[in-house]
């Protein structure tokens, strides 16, 4: 199983990846810039994402908004920013491939001449509203910020979330946009994937024509994060929120993306909390009815990962008993390891999940997005098969081992989010944290 591709690096350093899929007369254009909130500095958070918004406001040779000609051509399009990268994509009927390449290359090469104070101020307001909608006005919306701040020191770029601090967004300046663009939005810092009903040779020629003329620019400065001190003494934090039911976030430092133990921990998360047969769902929700929901995930990123369990208390139940039950479940896993049925299930699910990922050419998580992810993070666009192999090779003993090594009680951060005025529902000994 694989995503076959051809690759060419243009003289200006842009990687172009082409994948043919003739199932449907559409083509995905997917462009990754290797820049995210990890390239920000304290006091300037949220900027990479604000910048992404400005990429949709027009460029020198078409300055009437980015969406209009593409939506008129039948495109679906979007972009997103996370800590490590920013991606932009269009899914267009094949006859609009050239239009999409024109538009993407114009904003890669000529964004700044079209930048105005009005656009900048407008999008700053839009982003502040995005922050209100997705974080400030949402139950438990600040939890991620509190956890990241606890796991990473203040000068580490994973200390803040990609959306950033509201005061930093307000303080952003249009000159920062120019500098950011010139530093990071360069062909050599980007990867372009085209996937769909196209001829690889023709598509490569088109990509080279539209992007080849752009100036390579300088190598962006490396991210040099400060050392992250491991958590060695359990930390307990809490804040009050407009919620009805207390929720507990248990987080550990974990391996980086594609590093040793990453896949093993991913499957540990699976057997702990994915589906009704998972250990925590079965115990906490199904049998004991102590929790309304439980989730676990291994979130791996370039500079490091975090493993997280999130559990919400059923009415009348306490976070203390939930924390204890989760500790017990992890302890049991460490002592006994996964069972044979668990291994069978999680391996079959892993295989199915990889196949499900082959269904679409574009959008978030489609084949074009995956080619760019593998190219950006491993330097090998064809890593799909080897990625799946990582999961196929996982053994019960290895899962037992990583659970023992990474999910130690003394290395966790416990965040309680409790209803307003009900601070006593937090785990004993929790320190209040400020969130906004």
């Amino acid at each position: 199983m694989n995503i076959p591709y051809t690759r060419q690096t243009l003289d200006n350093g842009l990687d172009v990846l082409i994948h043919e899929d003739h199932g449907c007369p559409i083509v995905a254009v997917n462009l990754w810039y290797h820049v995210g909130s990890k390239n920000e500095t304290p006091g300037r958070t949220g900027f990479a994402h604000l910048f992404e918004h400005l990429m949709f406001e027009g460029s020198k040779h078409y300055d009437k908004g980015y969406f209009h000609p593409l939506q008129e051509a039948g495109a679906l399009l979007n972009g997103s920013t996370n800590a490590d990268r920013t991606n932009y994509w269009e899914v267009v009927p094949t006859n609009a491939l050239e239009l999409a390449l024109w538009m993407e290359s114009d904003r890669m090469g000529y964004l700044l001449p079209a930048l105005t104070d009005a656009k900048f101020e407008n999008q700053r307001e839009v982003v502040l509203n995005e922050r209100r909608q997705n974080y400030e006005n949402r139950p438990y919306g600040f939890a991620g910020m509190a956890v990241m701040a606890a796991l990473y020191p203040e000068d580490h770029p994973y200390h803040w979330m990609t959306i950033g601090a509201a005061e930093d967004i307000r303080a952003a300046h249009i000159d920062d946009v120019r500098a950011f663009f010139q530093t990071y939005y360069r062909p050599r810092n980007a990867s372009l994937a085209l996937a769909g009903d196209i001829d690889a040779g023709e598509a490569m020629e088109l990509a080279a024509r539209y992007f080849g003329e752009l100036d390579a620019g300088d190598e962006p400065p490396p991210v040099l994060p400060p050392a992250v001190a491991p958590v060695t003494v359990e930390r307990r934090l809490f804040f009050e929120d407009r919620v009805e039911l207390p929720r507990l976030y248990i987080s550990w430092h974990s391996p980086s993306i594609f590093a040793t133990d990453d896949a093993e921990l991913d499957l540990v998360a699976e057997i702990l909390a994915s589906g009704k047969t998972s250990r925590l769902y079965r115990t906490l929700v199904y049998e004991e009815r102590m929790a309304t929901e439980v989730a676990a995930s291994q979130s791996s990123r370039e500079l490091g990962g975090y493993f997280q369990i999130i559990v919400t208390a059923a009415p009348g139940r306490t976070l203390t008993e939930l924390a204890q039950a989760i500790s017990d479940a992890i302890e049991t896993l460490v002592v006994e390891g996964p069972t044979v049925p668990e291994m069978d299930r999680c391996q079959a699910q892993a295989e199915a999940n990889f196949i499900f990922r082959l269904q679409t050419v574009g959008g978030f998580g489609g084949k074009s997005d995956q080619l760019n992810a593998y190219n950006t993070f491993v330097g090998d666009p064809g890593f799909f098969g080897r990625d799946l192999d990582r999961y196929r090779r996982v053994t019960a003993a290895a899962m037992q081992q990583v659970a023992r090594e990474w999910l130690r009680p003394e290395q966790r951060v416990l965040l309680s989010v409790v209803p307003k005025g009900r601070g006593t529902l937090a785990l004993a000994g929790s320190q209040p944290v400020e969130v906004s």
Binding site: D21, G23, C24, P25, I26, Y62, F67, H68, Q71, E72, A73, G74, P93, N95, A96, L97, E98, L99, W102, M103, S105, Y110, N122, Q123, R124, E125, V126, N129, E130, R132, Q133, E136, N137, P139, D197, Y210, E213, V243, E244, L245, G275, K276, R282, V285, R289, T292, T312, A314, P315, D344, R345, C346, A348, Q349, A352, I355, F356, Q359, T360, V361
Partner: protein, 456 residues
């Protein structure tokens, strides 16, 4: 060859779209089986559509249809819930269950080599659910807890208040999840009886799609479902088009108070039209221009011009009966009044003051028609498309006539549709936000004193 950046490149020739062939069969028990071959990846999916949704909840029993569908995977046939999910896990199964106003849809996808097993499990869930008391207690408790949690979710509060004001006791007047009162007093007997009276092969359509031949897909469904029969004659399901609609509410504007809310969640609209309206295509064009995509009037105004919101949209929620027409946005609290005012202006203007222009028409029609092929990329998309045909009784040539029908629409038709189907006199505005911040401004909108909704 240098790039010409003085103009955008012209679009090439529109690529032809080969619509997937849907083959239709009927089993002897009346079950419709529709099959679609899709060989891109080694997966199959079986989608079961029952045109029974939350609108079928008996009077005083909101939430019954949803809890019945939720109970289907809590054990079936010889398997208890854990054994069922263990088996699903082993075949790489992904089970998705959804309930809307009009329908219950269960979809099970799996690795293609387990097609027969997957289909058999789906059949057992639909036809032989165990419905055990201890599972019912737990599922009901989880749903009650979900209701509690929704009290803090502004979009859920807004949807609920809006739906309630518009539809009242109409079958569309409640959320599928139901109410605390109803769930508290519900019994397992009611769930069993609902299942018994509603789930029947003659009412169901199975769309089987994926990496298998038509014959193999039919054989899987036949083996799994042919033993299913209903003993008693079933009455016809009601036609939602015939349900009488409630009059417009006295409350034209209502506030759900949410102290210190960072934003106001807005809903503005009224009851719309059924999916079977002959004006369906023109309403799609109207909506995409008004608030159906990024470059629509509403979004360009409230987001791109004013910066009041992260996004604003409109939609005609097409259902078997008349679903709502609604404008939705979450706006900064301080500009709530301005946002409502701008939104109302746009809703009115498209009816006459600023009718749809030919450029807008061109953009809207093009977005719908040129973007049409991407609805047919995956087996799941095709299955869902086919399910729409089944649910709304659409003609077999629905897909192939879509593009020409949309392209035949002109400005006059869109303006006429706006006049006919958007009626400012009937608008109801719901705001979930901080009353202290928004009430003074809202009183200047000349919409009367806002009603305050507390128990929703």
């Amino acid at each position: 060859m240098a790039v010409d950046r003085t103009r955008l490149p012209a679009l090439g020739v529109t690529p032809p779209l080969q619509f997937p062939e849907i083959r239709r069969h009927t089993l002897s028990n009346g079950l419709r089986v529709w099959t679609v071959e899709h060989h891109a990846v080694p997966l199959v999916s079986f989608l079961a559509l029952l045109p029974v949704g939350a609108s079928a909840d008996p009077s005083g029993r909101p939430g019954l249809a949803a809890i019945a569908s939720d109970m289907l995977d809590e054990g079936c046939g010889e398997l208890d819930a854990m054994e069922l999910h263990d088996t699903l896990g082993r075949i790489g199964g992904h089970l998705d269950s959804e309930i809307g106003s009009d329908a219950t849809i269960l979809t099970l996808s799996s690795l293609a080599r387990f097609a027969d097993r997957a289909c058999a499990l789906l059949a057992d869930m639909l036809t032989r659910p165990r419905f055990e008391a201890r599972d019912f207690q737990r599922v009901r408790e989880l749903r009650l807890n979900r209701l509690i949690q929704l009290r803090d979710l502004a979009p859920a509060l807004a949807d609920r208040a809006f739906t309630r004001l518009l539809y009242r006791d109409h079958p569309y007047g409640h959320m599928p999840l139901g109410t605390e009162e109803s769930l508290q007093s519900m019994t397992l007997g009611e769930v069993t009886a609902f299942h018994h009276s509603m789930f029947a092969p003659s009412r169901m359509t199975i769309v089987a799609a994926g990496d298998a031949t038509h014959d193999a897909l039919v054989a899987s469904v036949q083996a799994a479902f042919e033993g299913w029969s209903t003993t008693s004659a079933l009455p016809d399901l009601p036609d939602p088009v015939l349900w009488p609609l409630p009059p417009s509410p006295d409350e034209r504007i209502a506030i759900v108070h949410r102290p210190a809310a960072a934003q106001s969640e807005l809903r503005i609209g009224h009851i719309g039209v059924p999916r079977r309206t002959p004006d369906y295509h023109v309403l799609l064009v109207l909506n995409i221009i008004l608030g159906g995509q990024f470059v629509s009037r509403i979004n360009m105004n409230l987001r791109e011009d004013k910066g009041y919101t992260y996004g604003a949209r409109t939609s005609f929620d097409f259902r078997r009966g008349a679903g709502p027409f609604v404008l939705s946005a979450s706006v900064q609290s301080e500009v709530t009044t301005e946002s409502v005012s701008e939104a109302l202006n746009e809703l009115r203007a498209i009816r006459g003051d600023r009718p749809v222009t030919s450029a807008e028409l061109q953009t809207g029609r093009a977005a719908l028609t040129r973007g049409y092929p991407r609805n047919f990329e995956t087996a799941e998309q095709i299955s869902r498309g086919a399910a729409q045909l089944a649910l709304y009784d659409l003609p077999d040539d629905y897909f192939s006539t879509f593009v020409p029908k949309v392209l035949a629409i002109d400005e006059a038709a869109v303006t006429r549709a706006a006049e006919q189907y958007i009626d400012p006199a009937r608008f109801v505005t719901v705001i979930v936000g901080d009353r202290e911040k928004i009430a003074p401004g809202v009183s200047r909108l000349n919409m009367g004193t806002p009603a305050e909704l507390t128990s929703i």
